[in-house]
Amino acid sequence: MRLEPKPAPTLIETIAYPLGAVAVTFILASLLVLAAGASPFSVFALVVKGAAGSRFAIMETLTRATPLIFTGLAVAVAFRAKLWNIGAEAQLYAGALITVVLATGALPLPAPILIPILMIAAMLAGGLLLLGPAVLKTRLGVDEVVTTLLINFIMLLFVSMLLEGVLKDPMGMGWPRSPKIIADAQLPKLIARTRLHLGFLIAIVAAFIVWIIIKKTTLGYEMRAVGHNPEAARFAGIPVNRVLMKTALLSGGLAALGGFSEVAGLKNNLTLDLSPGFGYTGIVVAMLAMLNPLGVVLAAVFVAGIFVGADAMSRTAGVPSYIADVMVATALLTMVVAIMMTRFRVRWR
């Protein structure tokens, strides 16, 4: 077996490959469902119903998609420049942390001023958190996969320390959680009696802005050039290290906005279970979207739908909701294969 390069994928291929990857994912998941003693068709029907079967279900799916759009964008931006940011989880917590620190009374400002300040602060916190690994990569050649991955654990333990200490809510009956943020810091709900909040709209706007940055700006051009061939980029006069710094700031900042949005829009305080791995799932989302910022929105809604739908399904069908984790992980693998197939033709001899 050998791989031969092939021409740029056509539009049809760009759409067909992710769909094919998803289809294979469903087939593989069916085997597990069968092993659990249920019928794949009824289980998947229940997943779809749970994710999109009612107005409430749709709103719930979009709510769940919101942080995934942010982390997906963070990963897409970084991976474009081949900056392997595996630390969106930590950056998300950094954004959440700064939001809680500033919004629990430290800045008594009205909402229209406070919320932008919180967003900027969160982006700075997340960006700076990724800047460290980026500097280590460019100056000392330290592999950013290792550093960003390990910072996730450090960050989680750091937050845990704060929640057991200075940030602990005195009214929290001993639970490790922060006080609630003030009303002016809370994002309004988009639709009454649902959990969908303004953060979703901010995520959509962010996706458009990132799309414009990548397609239309010199920075986006530089990021792509550096990602495809850093040596040629350097030769042409593109400041490779500076581009990687900017990419790190943008990527970390986007992930941190996810943390801001979860705290300010949904939870209103910080706990250790703020993110059930949104940072890691963001990698799947970005890959499913083939690093396209607008695709990230669709992929995030799809992945969120699987999680929300699987929760609902497990209550009725008795198949554990872990099937969602398996499906998302499988989707990552099938998508990696699909992306390779857009670039190479497999030849059997």
């Binding site: 031969e4 239309k216 010199t218 050039a225 061939n229 040629a232």
Partner: protein
């Protein structure tokens, strides 16, 4: 009639729509040297890779000593007594000569290498065939010529009866090439059969008994070397008349770029520069001859802006530069044609448009306030495609899909479009077919006529001698004095390339 040791029958190999080998047959007799002549891309290397089992032919068969070789099995080719010396050496740099040669000749399960027996055998082969090399040296410390000798010894050590040499002289000095030819003569006298791949006519005439010419994947002719003329072979190889542009005399212009007592930091894969001074003048092509790895890369990196001197200064247009980077170099009007067009000169997965603006995307022509003007970029790409006669499906095509010649034309266009004052042309024609070579030469001569100063770095001595108004030789990071056109003979230049001072070895 000597025995036929190797027979290729109707070999056909396709890569997608490209037919690299179209029903090629050949026979090699014992003790014979066949030269396989053809331009880059004619299918010579593909054919040899099929013979050696690296590729599987779509049709046809390979027969050695009367037995059909199984397709796609290099081990079978080795066992049948076929040895190949590749264009790019396949040696482990961190191991000794002896280890490299013995590598793979014994079972992976055996514990120890019988070093003394292997050493004695290697010594014997070296003396028998004039392949001087110390078996206990680390390969990384060897010169290119020595490495090639190790490759040949490797084949002999495995009792090769058929030796294939792929462009063996491309990396050698003229003196080393003569030594190689002498070795081949000795081997042939012992009954070795040789296939010698080349695109240089004079070598082919010097070593072979028979010449086979490939063009566009087809065998277009075969001649006994004794009865063939160079003109006849050249016409067969190219298939049409290619006229090289004449080099007309030009007045020497002002100094446009100079290095003064420049030294560079040690670098991997080549000498750094040591106290080098050179001035490039308008209307002058300065040719830099030398065996690769002697400091060409460091000099090219300096002109490109990717490296800074550790001592000495760079002057452009009469003023010493204070800061130096690729962007500064472009801003000072230096056009750069890099040695490696795939790894350095282009970004393969980006489009033609995105590639041709890579040096100037920040200029007002292609972007304003950080927003790209893709319409202007595309128009520029279309202009280059038209002006430089580039064959490509569209400006949106990924540049990796273009042939080497077309890619090089785009890189040349990108560099020459802003009317640069200084041009660095590093191996500008390596791997191109004759038509494309003539085109590149024409463009460089046009720039010279316009008054640009050109530094031409090339391993092809013929190219340097044809184009250059003055020639310098680089050896171990030091430059020889300049000689004007015709002042030094090929032999003298060859001696300088080998590190002798002229006259000493004569």
């Amino acid at each position: 009639m000597a025995e036929t040791v190797l027979r290729l029958t109707n070999i056909t190999k396709r890569f997608g729509p490209l037919v690299a080998n179209d029903s090629i047959s050949l026979e090699l007799q014992e003790g014979e040297v066949i030269a396989l002549l053809g331009e880059n891309g004619a299918g010579k290397t593909t054919l040899m890779n099929i013979l050696f089992g690296h590729y599987v032919a779509d049709e046809g068969s390979v027969e050695a000593f009367g037995k059909v070789l199984p397709a796609g099995d290099p081990r079978a080719a080795l066992d049948a007594g076929i040895g190949m010396v590749h264009q790019h050496f396949t040696l482990a740099d961190n191991m000794t000569v002896l280890e490299n040669i013995a590598l793979g000749t014994q079972s992976a399960w055996s514990w120890k290498l019988d070093r003394s027996a292997a050493r004695a055998r290697i010594r014997q082969l070296s003396t028998d065939f004039g392949l001087a090399v110390d078996p206990d040296r680390i390969v990384a410390q060897l010169s290119v010529g020595e490495r090639q000798r190790v490759e040949i010894l490797k084949a002999l050590y495995r009792n090769a009866r058929i030796l294939i040499l792929d462009e063996p002289t491309a990396v050698l000095t003229p003196l080393e090439a003569d030594a190689l030819f002498a070795t081949l003569k000795m081997l042939v006298a012992e009954g070795m059969s040789v296939i010698f791949i080349s695109h240089k006519l004079h070598e082919v005439m010097a070593v072979s008994n028979r010449v086979l010419v490939l063009r566009g994947g087809k065998m277009v002719g075969g001649r006994d070397t004794a009865g063939a003329t160079r003109q006849e072979l050249a016409a067969l190889m190219v298939g049409q008349e290619v006229s090289f542009p004449p080099v007309e005399a030009m007045p020497r212009g002002p100094e446009l770029f100079s290095l003064e007592n420049v030294s560079t930091a040690p670098r991997a894969g080549g000498s750094p520069l040591q106290d080098v001074s050179i001035a490039l003048h308008g209307g002058v092509i300065t040719g830099l001859a030398g065996v690769s790895g002697n400091g060409q890369a460091a000099l090219a990196a300096l002109l490109s802006g990717t490296e800074k001197p550790v001592a000495g200064s760079i002057r452009t247009g009469g003023a010493t530069v204070s800061s130096w980077s690729p962007r500064e170099a472009v801003a000072k009007g230096i056009a750069r044609v890099p040695e490696d067009r795939h790894a350095v000169g282009s970004i393969g997965d980006m489009s033609v448009t995105e590639n041709v603006i890579s040096e100037r995307y920040r200029s007002r022509r292609f972007s304003r306030h950080g927003i790209m003007d893709w319409k202007a970029a595309r128009a520029f790409a279309e202009e280059l495609i038209r002006d430089y006669d580039v064959k490509c499906p569209s400006p949106e095509a990924r540049i990796r899909l273009l042939s080497g010649g077309n890619m090089q034309k785009l890189i040349l266009g990108r560099a020459l479009d802003p009317d640069p004052v200084v041009i660095l042309a590093n191996q500008p024609t390596r791997g191109l077919d004759v038509g494309a070579v003539a085109y590149v030469h024409k463009r460089l001569l046009e720039a010279r006529a316009r008054g640009a100063a050109i530094l031409l770095i090339s391993e092809d001595l013929d190219e340097i001698l044809r184009l250059s108004d003055e020639v310098r030789v680089i050896y171990k990071g030091k430059l020889s004095s300049a000689s004007l056109r015709g002042e030094r003979s090929v032999r003298e230049i060859g001696e300088l390339m080998a590190g002798h001072s002229v006259g000493e070895a004569a």
